[in-house]
Each structure stands twice: as C-alpha cells, then as structure tokens.
C-alpha cells in the first residue's frame, strides 16, 4: 500500500498549504489539488463510481468557493491571547491524536474487511436485481430509501440557499394579496 500512503501524504500537504497560505484564492486552489488527490486515492481503492462523483463534486465545490472568495482579501491580525489560544489548540489536538491512535488499534487490519452484509448483496445482485455493478444495485435497489433521503437533503439545501441568497424581500402588497 505504498502508493496509497504517498497519495495520502500529498493530500495532507495540500490541506496544510490550503490552511496556512494567506491568499484566499490560492487556498481554494490548494484545496482543489487535495480533492483531486482524494479522487486518485478512490481509484487506488477500486471505487471508480466514487472517483467520478468526487471529480464532479470537487469541481462544483471549487466554483462555489471561488464565487465566495474572489476579490476579497484576508486581514491577518494577532490580537487577543494569541499564544494561549494556539497552545490550547495544539494540546487538544495532541490528546485527540493519541486517543484516536489507541482506538484505531481495535479496528480490523487494512485489507481484511468483515463483509457480513455484503455477502448477501453480492450474491443477490446478479440474481434479483440483474445489475452487474454491485454498487449501483445497492444504491438503487437494496438501499433505495437512502437515495431518497439523499435527494431530500439535497433539495432542502437548495431551498435554503435560495432563501438565503435572495436579494429582494417580498413586497407588502403581495402579502396583502395573499392574505385576501
């Protein structure tokens, strides 16, 4: 798994650059590089559906973030208790990493999944659904309610964006008309 580790190191370096660089547009570009690295990691882990979706999501995410950051600069201020806050943050992150490392030791090792439920899905995908792609058989047939919930969340978020980004409020005459 050497190539996967190298890709992960690339993603981490891209994330650190995206966080620490001062220009916001450069930060968004570094985040895009990190996301494309994640796409290659998905391909390495034998998940082509996820890689396709990740490319589309990454591009849309980049466009949305550039819309927010273009021609806006970032003032850098170190007022307040700068040293104390940084120290507390790093101590917390160190404790988080330590306990996360202890918790990861209890997981099954990499490359040996349990696959108790997936045995059923993989056996029934060809017989019942007649789909050669097992992932699409799961998302569209066995767990179709999950996809329905996903669509619900998606449209709710779209309604929220429309309600937030709307420039004009509703006029009072229209409200009076609706009340009648």
């Amino acid at each position: 798994m050497l190539e996967l580790n190298l890709i992960l190191v690339f993603i981490i370096i891209g994330a650190i650059i995206a966080i620490q660089v001062k220009d916001l547009l450069s930060a968004v570009a570094a985040l895009g590089a990190s996301g494309l690295g994640l796409c290659i990691a998905f391909l390495t882990l034998k998940a082509p559906d996820l890689a396709i979706t990740q490319i589309v999501v990454e591009t849309l995410c980049l466009i949305i973030l550039i819309k927010a950051t273009i021609r806006k600069d970032l003032p850098f201020s170190t007022s307040g208790r700068w040293f104390f806050n940084t120290l507390v943050t790093f101590v917390f992150l160190a404790v988080f990493l330590y306990f996360g490392y202890k918790a990861l030791k209890t997981l099954p090792p990499l490359g040996k999944p349990l696959m108790k439920i997936s045995q059923f899905y993989m056996a029934e995908a060809l017989k019942e659904v007649k789909a050669t792609n097992v992932v699409s058989a799961i998302t569209l047939n066995f767990r179709a309610y999950d996809t329905l919930g996903e669509a619900t969340v998606l449209f709710t978020a779209v309604i929220g964006v429309i309600a937030i980004m709307r420039k004009k409020g509703r006029k009072k005459i229209e409200e009076a008309d609706e009340n009648d």
Partner: protein
C-alpha cells in the same frame, strides 16, 4: 495501520483549521478537509487486499471483490457534503455583505 493513522492526521489538520482560524472561508475549508478524511476512512474499512472492482463480468468469474457497501454509503455522503458546503458558503456570503469582513472576532464585536 499507518494508512489509518495518516487519515487521522488529515482529520486533525481540518480540525485545527476549524478551531484556530478566524477567517470563515478557512473554517469552511477545514470542514471540507474533515469530510475528505471521514469518507476516505470509511472506504478504507471495506478494502480487501488485491481486491477487484465490484462489477461482475459475463466472461470471467470474479471472486475477490472489495466491499461494495461502504462505497454505496460514501457515494451518498459525497453528494450531501456538496449540498451542505453550498449552504455554508451562502451564509458566509451574506455575512460578508452585512458586516464587510470574514473575520469572526470582528463580526462578534459588531452589535446593532
């Protein structure tokens, strides 16, 4: 094991941005990085060593597939992540229009 730990380090980088940065856009970038780490960790749980892509072929018998269930769930998670990111960025744009800054300490001080 080292791969799991690198995933955890990636999550920690995102968490640092959420906790310590003052710019709202940097905090959003931190949230997106956390999403990357969680998706990758979920996918790593279902990886079988030298496994094949979970797609059947009519010509040959494919026995050692990777686990398709985490892939299906992460597929849902990716799309929901995009929707929530759009919502957060919309709120950030409106905050910039109202206060003229992305700095959360200045936004907190401006009361009207």
């Amino acid at each position: 094991m080292i791969t799991y730990f690198l995933c955890l380090v990636l999550f920690t980088v995102g968490l640092y941005a959420i906790l310590r940065k003052r710019n709202i856009i940097k905090m959003i970038i931190g949230i997106i990085i956390c999403e990357y780490a969680v998706n990758l960790l979920l996918l790593l749980f279902g990886y079988k060593m030298n496994g094949r892509t979970p797609i059947y072929s009519p010509n040959q018998e494919i026995l050692d597939m990777v686990d398709p269930l985490p892939q299906a769930l992460v597929l849902t998670s990716l799309v929901i992540g995009l929707a929530t990111t759009a919502l957060i960025v919309g709120i950030a744009i409106r905050l910039y229009e109202k206060y003229g800054t992305f700095d959360i300490t200045k936004i907190r001080n401006l009361k009207n």
